[in-house]
């Protein structure tokens, strides 16, 4: 029926999220932490992870020009703090995706809108941690689909 078909539609997004996380190793995180100034797209990807986990981002929204387009300045100090947790990747694997709300999805939209915010350009800039970009998008896709599906299952 409808609900099952919609759920099946969400499955690829979830599979993509898990394989995105599995493509990242603790060694990638260590390598990233060693960078004093990582590529800008990496900082923005980490802002998305901060927002999904309700961690602090910069209070004031600051737009800056990167290669001819405007993007939001990330809170990379906080990202480094988050990566300092030995179980950082574990938290993402076990992320409570059913707790995501509509506001969080809206707060991520301005990041997703940047032309370089995709796996390919993040991979070029930063290697395997680009998988976090797919993970963040998959979490939003899951929420959007689940919102449509849940009332149908309930009836």
């Amino acid at each position: 029926d409808d609900a099952e078909r919609d759920l099946a539609a969400a499955k690829p997004a979830l599979d993509a999220a898990l394989s995105a996380l599995n493509s990242i190793s603790p060694k990638d995180i260590v390598g990233l932490k060693a960078l004093k100034n990582p590529p800008d797209v990496v900082k923005r990807i980490f802002d998305c992870v901060l927002i999904l986990r309700y961690w602090p981002v910069l209070d004031k929204v600051t737009w800056q020009d990167i290669k001819g387009f405007q993007v939001i300045l990330g809170n990379y100090d906080m990202a480094v703090k988050m990566m300092g947790d030995m179980n950082f990747l574990g938290h993402l694997v076990n992320f409570p995706k059913e707790q995501i709300n509509d506001e969080t999805v809206e707060l991520l939209e301005p990041y997703f809108a940047a032309p370089d915010f995709n796996y390919e350009s993040a991979k070029k800039a930063s290697g395997n941690v680009a998988g976090l970009c797919n993970w963040a998008e998959a979490m939003c896709t899951y929420h959007t689909v689940a919102k449509v599906v849940e009332p149908k299952i309930a009836t």
Binding site: Y54, W55, P56, V57, D59, K60, V61, W63, Q70, I72, P96, Q99, I100, N101, D102, E103, E106, L107, E109, P110, A113
Partner: protein, 195 residues
Amino acid sequence: MPSTIKDAIKLFEERKNVVATEQEKVELNGTCPAIEKMDATLSTLKACKHLALSTNNIEKISSLSGMENLRILSLGRNLIKKIENLDAVAETLEELWISYNQIANLGGIEKLVNLKVLFMSNNKIAAWSEIDRLAAVDKLEDLLLVGNPLYNEARDGNTLSDYRIEVIKRLPNLKKLDGIPVDVDERDAAKAARG
């Protein structure tokens, strides 16, 4: 130069190829450069049910008169300190999304008599007396407080389950707190704590 509401509406119309005054969801979130002030141009948005103003640098809530259909007001990630100037939409407003702002005081929230959802993670709520004010909002079902000092202290002290009972004790009609449904045991414990 910050964007005005008029600039932001124009960008939205161009991006979506729509007429803003006819839209139920008006997306002015993440406007570049950021919006700093709400103004009377908002009163032209007569059909709007969901006003998205998140991810800007707005310091003060204002200028909502004329938005007679507004159900969801989204102001997350701005620089707002006070819940104020909501009288014009108090009757219709069901959801206030205001995470990532500077709110320490919930005075003014009692006017939102039809509010069901209040998302306010990462603000400055530090005192139980602020949660007491929410008791006046008796339709409130879904509350998000993660990242406020009150929540962070409980998390750091490993007392989140006590914190939940304390919130539910004050807000018996709550169905969901911090993204997690309120369960029967929590409801019973809160009832016992109320005495």
